[in-house]
Each structure stands twice: as structure tokens, then as C-alpha cells.
Symmetry: C2
Subunit: 212 residues, 2 copies
DNA sequence: TAGATTGTTAATCGATTAACAATC
DNA sequence: TAGATTGTTAATCGATTAACAATC
């Protein structure tokens, strides 16, 4: 499969297809068509087909795509097959929830450890270690960690981010609702809950108005 | 301020402006220009200006927008000023982390209670009650709850979602990595971590390749 | 073969960016 | 006044959708 230039919009939809395919029961048909996928997910069938064309090396007219291969292709394309090691900074409630969430393995993410200024806990229930911040740099360099997860309060996020970059981290996943300034070659993915909430609350406002 | 039709893309950026404005120290200048905002956030200045034009009733040439009014306008536009009551289903680690997160108040979100099939805990540390699922319907109707948050494992998400809708909920915020089928007038906002991870892991893959 | 489905090429749509006039 | 900044109108860009030919 030749790797084409891929747009962010496509990239955002691929995990949705994959999760649906995975959710199908074991005994499901061997083949699935773009039409079937589109209907199940409430999307346009042409869009689905075009997206799949980016990652798969061809479905068969009349039958569709082989379910197994399709899942493999998407997984591989998204890099879910080779695990990425990550560390997390900020072992508060959210941080610990993420540290303890085993579902990330499915996406090729392996959180090695948590770090906190106040490492009151030495290990989470799940056995993940929580270290003091002073060990951050050493740990990252020793383990060649490339991804950092930020779950500290907003006002410390930029500072933590700078530290992570100094430790060699190239991709930052942040849950702090602030903009982070980073050099060009670093990717920041902001899990912006404020955005989701805005969309939801706009919807509710519109609904209320309608009902009047 | 006349309310214009607003696009999702704009809606997603508004919380970013707001959070930046809020992060400015108390003693900052009274006025801020779209240019200054754009530079601070690494965005295009025309885009920022156009977005602000949607919510504000005008900046002043040469000086910019009054910081206070701008924050008020955005907050109001996003509905952060009138609180929305919500309930949460699935009091696992993530669920409890969200229940305990006080920062949502800032966005006008008030999580009244959690629900779980196994309500082992009666109250979270923060004093939010956790009820058994059997009380869901009654609670929602009594309190006229319109928003539901889903933090149950993927395989139960659809079922919980259906229950929520039956209880009168109009907006669903879900953290389960699955597609949810809902009637047309219900909004589902999927906090899709898989998507974020996909973007991040693609970036790392690209980086690795470059370095070779 | 006929028909469902794929994949591609062209048309449409929407959002971003650029250019420019208006204003304090 | 001159210049920074706003807001609007036009041009560009990219993504989605529609139309159609290819295929099993």
C-alpha cells in the first residue's frame, strides 16, 4: 500500500471505522462494504469509501472489504501496531484515571510512569510508578520517551510542557485548557473539553429556544 | 449583538480565545487587539478578527477590543453564564475524576450526581452522590436534567445512551470510544481520545522517518 | 449477464486567507 | 494628520459530495 498524503479530517475518521469494525461480533460476515459501514455510522458512503482507499489496497466490487485485513490496515496506518511509550505529568485525579486506564494499549499507547511535584503515592493501584519531578529528565532520556501527557492545572501546563521538550519529547497530549507555545517540530494535541462543552451547550440553548 | 449563524469551526475556537483572555494577569491593558490575540495563540489575525466579529459588537480601530467585555461576550455566547445541570453514568476511575473536577463550573457545567450499576461508593470525596441506575429516570425527570455524560465501558455505552434519552436527555457527552446511534434532535459529542492518539502517533511516525 | 460495489474524475460547498476600504 | 486596527468583500484553498466508468 503506497502511503499517500493524508488530511487531518480523514485521520480523525479512521479510528471511528476501526472501533466499529472491532465492535462487530466474531461470527460476522467476512466482507463488509463501505455502504454498510456508512449506514452503521451515519456517514456518507462516498466519504467512507474514499477514506478507506487511503489505507486499504482495495476492496472487491460487489463484496466489499475483507473485514480482518481492513482492521489490520487501519491499525497499521494509525501506528497502533507499534507501541509508543509515554509518561504523564500531574498525578491528580484525572492523571491517575489515565494512568490506570488499560484501554490505551489497544491504541498502541503505553504509559510507563507518572510524575508529580508531590509524589504522595508511590504506585497507583495498577502498579504504575509515580516519581517526583526531579527524576523526569533522567527517566525520559533513559527510556527514550517521545510522548508526554500533561494533566497538571492550567497555570503550570506551559512550564511542564517546556520541561518535557527539554527532555526530548516530540509529541504532547495535554488536558490543560490553555494554549501551549512550542517549537515547530513538536505536536501539541489539546484534549479540549471546553470545546466539547461549548458545542453541547450551544445545542441545548438552541433546543430550549425551539421549544418556546 | 445580533446572533448570526455560527459554524462549528468558529465555535471550536471561541473557548480558546476565552481561556487565553482569562489567563492574562489582572493588571493587563484594558484593550486587546485581534493581532495580539492571534500572535499569542499562533493563529491568523484575520481569522481571529472574523471570529470575534461573530460574538462581539465591535472593537475599536487602533485600540482593539475591551478585554472585559470581550470575555463577557464570548462567555455569554457560549452559554457559560447560565449553568447546565448534568448527570454522569459510570462511576469508574474516569467517571469519578470528572465528578470531582471542579473546573467545569467555569464552563457553566454542574454535574449533579453520578450513577452506576454497582454504587459501591455513596459519595465521592467531593460530596457528589453516586446512585444506583434504578434511580436514574426519577432523578433526571425530577431535576429536569438535559445533559448526560457517559463514562461506562464501550460495550454498554449504547444501552446507557438509550436510557438517558428515555429520561429526557437532549445532549450526550460520551467518553466511550464507540459510535452512538441517536434520534436526530439529540446531540452526541464524542470525546474521542482515539482520534487524538491517532494524530499524535502519526506525528511521531513522521518524525522517526525524518530522522533516518 | 445483471447488479452491487469499488474507485476516480468533476462539481459543489464551506472555510480560510488575501485585499482593501472605513475608522478612530 | 498618519498609522494601527477594524470589518467587509473577493479570491483561494481544501474537503465533501455527486456523477460515472470499471469490475467482479
Amino acid at each position: 500500500m503506497e502511503r499517500k498524503e493524508i488530511s487531518k479530517s480523514v485521520l480523525k475518521r479512521l479510528p471511528i471505522y476501526l472501533s466499529y469494525l472491532k465492535s462487530l461480533p466474531q461470527g460476522s460476515a467476512e466482507y463488509i462494504s463501505a455502504t454498510a459501514l456508512a449506514n452503521a455510522l451515519g456517514m456518507g458512503e462516498v466519504q467512507v469509501r474514499k477514506d478507506l482507499a487511503m489505507v486499504s489496497d482495495g476492496g472487491r466490487p460487489k463484496v466489499g472489504y475483507r473485514r480482518e485485513s481492513l482492521m489490520d490496515d487501519i491499525s497499521q496506518f494509525l501506528g497502533y501496531d507499534n507501541t509508543t511509550d509515554a509518561i504523564l505529568v500531574g498525578a491528580g485525579k484525572l492523571g491517575q484515571a489515565l494512568l490506570g486506564y488499560s484501554g490505551f494499549e489497544e491504541y498502541g499507547l503505553n504509559i510507563l510512569a507518572g510524575f508529580d511535584i508531590q509524589p504522595t503515592i508511590q504506585k497507583t493501584e495498577d502498579g504504575k510508578p509515580i516519581f517526583p519531578m526531579s527524576e523526569l529528565e533522567n527517566f525520559c532520556k533513559m527510556n527514550k520517551v517521545l510522548m508526554g501527557i500533561i494533566t497538571v492545572p492550567a497555570q503550570y501546563a506551559q512550564q511542564v510542557c517546556d520541561q518535557l521538550i527539554a527532555c526530548g519529547i516530540k509529541a504532547v497530549w495535554t488536558f490543560a485548557p490553555v494554549h501551549l507555545d512550542v517549537p515547530e517540530n513538536i505536536l501539541v494535541q489539546n484534549e479540549n473539553m471546553a470545546t466539547s462543552l461549548a458545542l453541547l451547550s450551544m445545542h441545548l440553548q438552541a433546543q430550549m429556544k425551539e421549544r418556546k
